[in-house]
């Protein structure tokens, strides 16, 4: 696969929360508004890009027996860096995302990409893979967050957009609402995929 394909596959074919159905914990927990979803997505992308790059650069050096431990040390370091930077420059976002920032360490997308991709491919391809999957994850969280914000509080990116008599479905802001929104989005994606397949075949 070319570098470009490594990047674009993360945007549709292996879109993390929907296609790989990985990393659902942050996906469902923090997407109460579009901005929160995007902040979480960008933090994860940052960690993913750098962990992919470093794992790929060190892949010939790391003995296979201690690879998981080494990957986790690399990932955890970048997570702490993200946490400190967010605390220093985006304090309000840091407060909202709270415990889910340190939990990026155990996000299976990141370890999954390190193990399945970066430890077997060159730095450039790994970088493209990290960028693609990361952006895919960010966009998914952003869209999910926007849908939940729109239905759950009647606003979009903090601005009220629904008509005045609109009664918000506060249910959508609760964890079960996250599952419902995720299910509906998944159904739409499958619909598009099956339509494309029929057209192609």
């Amino acid at each position: 696969m070319s570098i470009k394909e490594e990047f674009t596959k993360g945007l549709w074919k292996t879109l993390p929360p929907f296609r790989l159905v990985l990393g659902l914990c942050p996906t469902l927990a923090v997407t109460t508004t579009g901005i929160n979803g995007m902040g979480m997505g960008l933090a994860t992308t940052f960690v993913l890009i750098f962990s992919n790059l470093f794992v790929s650069l060190l892949r010939k050096l790391i003995p296979p027996q201690v690879r998981i431990a080494s990957f986790i040390v690399i990932i955890a370091s970048f997570v702490v860096i993200v946490e400190l930077i967010m605390q220093a420059y985006f304090y309000q976002l840091f407060k909202v995302l709270g415990i889910f920032i340190p939990l990026i360490v155990v996000n299976c997308i990141i370890l999954g990409r390190a193990e399945a991709f970066a430890s077997r491919n060159g730095p450039l391809a790994s970088l493209a893979d990290g960028l693609g999957i990361g952006f895919g994850f960010t966009i998914s969280l952003f869209v999910l967050g926007c849908i939940r914000e729109l239905l759950g509080s009647g606003s979009l990116l903090g601005v009220a957009v629904m008509w005045s008599g609109f009664e918000p479905f506060t249910f959508m802001l609760k964890p079960p609402g996250a599952f419902v929104a995720l299910g509906i989005l998944l159904a739409f994606m499958n619909l598009i995929s099956s339509y494309q397949e029929r057209k192609g075949g």
Binding site: L58, L61, I62, P63, Q65, V66, A69, S70, V73, I74, A76, S77, V80, I81, L84, I85, Q87, A88, Y89, Y91, Q92, K95
Partner: protein, 186 residues
């Protein structure tokens, strides 16, 4: 044998490099993080416990060394003075007390006459719905008008004794600083 040595060396090197990188980032972000906590955590609390001032307590804040910790490093507290026409008439400062789930941070407003003006909880990790009720105004209002000398006691919240006591000892700590360093503060 060679494999084992290699494993140990590689993993140690990775860990050492990450430790080095983290300490560097920590140094860079230390000052901005301190500023952010003052801006987003302390400032709202200070504004809550002080009223009637015409200065900026955040800008006029000063630090005071109040002793040393176990390792001999100086312990500093930050004082937020409230001034009217250049004269300090009250201060806000933070005290900490041991609650049920860790330390409870309490911002205490104290007048020059030595009375508690108001308190506000800045940080706690008490049980939500039980110990966290110490944040409610019905509890924090009980501290208004208390003297700062000696022990600080109010009626606790039933079912949240540890948390209530934690808040009381936090207020007591802040009050004791004011009593001890009265000259420097006012």
């Amino acid at each position: 044998m060679r494999d084992i040595v290699r494993m140990i060396v590689v993993l140690s090197l990775i860990a050492a490099a990450s430790g080095l990188a983290l300490s560097l980032i920590y140094r860079i972000t230390k000052a901005p993080i301190a500023y952010q906590t003052i801006r987003f955590v302390k400032e709202p609390a200070v504004k809550k416990v002080l009223t009637g001032y015409d200065n900026d307590p955040i800008l006029d804040r000063k630090t005071l060394v109040v002793g040393t910790d176990d390792k001999g490093a100086p312990v500093e507290i930050t004082i937020f003075p409230a001034k009217r026409q250049g004269e300090t008439f009250a201060v806000a400062l933070e005290g900490k007390g041991k609650g049920f789930g860790g330390l409870i941070g309490v911002m205490v407003g104290i007048s020059k006459e030595g009375k508690v003006l108001a308190i506000g909880i800045t940080s706690h990790s008490e049980t939500p719905g039980v110990g966290s009720r110490v944040e409610e105004a019905s509890f924090t209002d009980r501290f208004q008008g208390l003297g700062i000398e000696g022990a600080v006691t109010v009626d606790g919240i039933s079912g949240a004794t540890y948390s209530s006591t934690g808040v009381m000892s936090a207020v007591e700590q802040a009050a004791s600083y004011v009593v001890k360093y009265k000259e420097e503060i006012f």
